[in-house]
């Protein structure tokens, strides 16, 4: 059934990703690939994995962006940006599905694909603005993040391991998992404190996952020793008289 649940439980499991502390190590992506290639939607196929044109299905990709502030004098920054399914509250990827293979769970809001009924028409991937769905050429079905549905409820795992593989793998604690429908949860508190935001809210998909913005950087003279300040063009060579004389001679 690709209509959205009539009575969602109010539970909204999802991730909160901290763009301030993410160091772009790709451990989350690798761990995701490792777990999910043996899990619920296994395998995550690779084509020509050891060749020149390696190509495979990944459910989590880590991008890096450069942000250049408009004001002069303040430094730019690089932001590492992990991207995966946001388990939206209004997921068009679900409603466009003609077969009912793509669905949103009423009990916890996780968006899943049933690999036994997916016809591989790829329309869901067209409907997703976040590039969360990747097509498995070998099996002819769509693959996506399951929020490690086979870990988070798995009583065979130790309680501390009942989290998505990406969250468990992150060495800097930049990924947080919890119920974003519960205002008292740790993840909801984090979103409130740090100003967590939605990706492209204007599209109206109402993503559950939130991103925490990079903290403000120190700017201006605080950012480095005076030796790194730009040279005075009228007096390009500072320092003692010999160098200044040499500069004048060589500048003729």
């Amino acid at each position: 059934m690709t209509s959205l649940p009539d009575k969602p439980s109010g539970k909204k499991l999802g991730l909160v990703i901290d763009l301030d502390t993410c160091v772009g190590c790709h451990a989350c992506a690798v761990s995701c690939k490792e777990w999910n290639t043996t899990g619920y939607i296994a395998p995550l196929t690779d084509r020509n994995p050891y060749g020149a044109e390696a190509d495979g299905v990944w459910l989590n990709r880590v991008h890096s962006y450069e942000v250049r502030p408009g004001t002069e004098g303040s430094g730019g920054m690089t932001v590492n940006f992990p991207r995966s399914c946001l388990h939206c509250e209004e997921p068009a990827c679900v409603t466009v599905c003609p077969t009912g293979a793509s669905y949103k769970r009423a009990e916890d809001g996780i968006v899943l694909v049933n690999p036994d009924t997916c016809i591989g028409c790829k329309l869901c991937s067209w409907a997703c603005p976040y590039g969360a769905r990747e097509y498995d050429e070998d099996h002819g079905v769509m693959k996506k993040c399951t929020l490690c549905v086979d870990r988070i409820y798995n009583e065979n795992l130790a309680p501390e391991d009942r989290k998505p593989a990406c969250v468990r793998a992150c060495p800097t604690g930049a990924r947080h998992f919890g119920d974003l429908g519960d205002p008292e949860s740790a993840v909801s508190a984090l979103v409130r404190e740090r100003g967590g935001y939605d990706l492209m809210p204007g599209l109206g998909y109402r993503p559950v996952n939130k991103y925490l913005p990079p903290r403000e950087r120190r700017t201006g003279t605080d950012s480095g020793p005076e030796a790194l300040e730009p040279l005075d063009p009228a007096n390009p060579v500072a320092g003692d008289g010999v160098f200044r004389w040499l500069d004048r001679v060589l500048s003729r």
Partner: protein, 316 residues
């Protein structure tokens, strides 16, 4: 967006097939064309062949064509499912109307009602096809009020050209149908030019700053790609063509799809029927189909998906 040949064939063939079906059903039911069994056989034969070939082509790009029957189940939410349901439903009245025409030579009374039902079904099917694309908010060139009307107008225009060619081939002589084809073509061309003007002048609404939410901190640019090889998302959603080629291809689409068929129709109106007129009319229909393929290729190739903003595109 990647223009898959199966989808280009699907939309152009079903469009022309349903357009032809609509005209055969409406003019047949109204008694404006004679219920000649051979005309019925060839007309509906061509229409059903184009529709069925198009629908079959649409299953070629599926990962699991054997599961295609499941696609009729989600009509409550999915335009693709609605399109499948309407396509299947339409076969029933269209098939019955065609049988009445071919075997009984009767297109009046109850048969006429079936014909009208089939025409409505065919028009709704084409509407659903357009809405599959128009409903996607991720692609501004598709999420556009021109898209579905253009799908319907192009279906009617190409269908009218085939209809006119058949009528002339059956020696019905000069009729208003050539003028009808020309009016449909002109309307479709006007809408298509309006669409192109619209997507060219619209401000690209989003940039990487919107996609990442980092825009309020400064100008956002891709620093390093997320992976070394292009992935499915880039191959499927990242495809679009340079503006230079778009201009040239638009010109070819306009020439082959509209200007040449219109000119041939105009020449044909000066002839008093006969073989010459029929040949010109068939030529116009075939040229228009070639033009439709270019137009449809462009419809995909010019479409920019917002996900490309995560992969280095500056606007989408």
């Amino acid at each position: 967006m990647h223009p898959a040949y199966s989808v280009l064939l699907f939309t152009t063939l079903t469009g022309a097939g349903y357009g032809l079906m609509i005209l055969l059903c409406l003019f047949g039911a109204a008694g404006l064309v004679p219920a000649d069994p051979l005309l019925g056989l060839i007309g509906f034969g061509l229409s059903f062949a184009m529709v069925t070939a198009g629908l079959m082509a649409s299953t070629f790009h599926l990962g699991h064509p054997e599961r295609a029957w499941r696609a009729v189940t989600q009509w409550r939410s999915s335009w693709l499912s609605r399109e499948g349901v309407m396509a299947l439903i339409t076969y029933a009245p269209a098939g019955l109307f065609a049988m009445g025409w071919i075997f009984l030579g009767d297109t009046g009374g109850v048969w006429a009602m079936l014909g009208v039902a089939a025409a409505i079904g065919a028009l709704v099917t084409v509407y659903c096809t357009g809405m599959i694309y128009q409903s996607l908010k991720t692609i501004r060139q598709w999420h556009n009020t021109w898209v579905t009307p253009i799908y319907m107008l192009l279906a009617l225009a190409t269908g009218a050209l085939w209809f006119n060619a058949l009528i002339l081939a059956f020696g019905e002589g000069r009729s208003g149908f050539t003028w009808l084809s020309m009016a449909m073509l002109a309307a479709a061309l006007t809408a298509k030019l309006g669409y192109w003007r619209g997507i060219d002048t619209a401000k690209a609404p989003r940039n990487p700053g919107h996609a990442t939410g980092l825009g309020r901190l400064g100008k956002v640019r891709q620093w390093e790609t997320a992976h070394t090889q292009a992935n499915y998302v880039q191959r499927e959603m990242g495809f679009w063509i340079a503006r230079k080629h778009a201009r040239k291809l638009r010109l070819y689409a306009v020439l082959a799809g509209f200007v040449l068929p219109l000119s041939l129709c105009l020449i044909e109106t000066t002839l008093t029927g006969g073989v010459g007129a029929a040949v010109l009319a068939f030529l116009a229909a075939i040229l228009a189909m070639a033009g439709m393929l270019i137009e449809r290729w462009l419809f995909f190739a010019e479409a920019q998906h917002v996900v490309s903003l995560y992969y280095g595109a500056e606007t989408a």
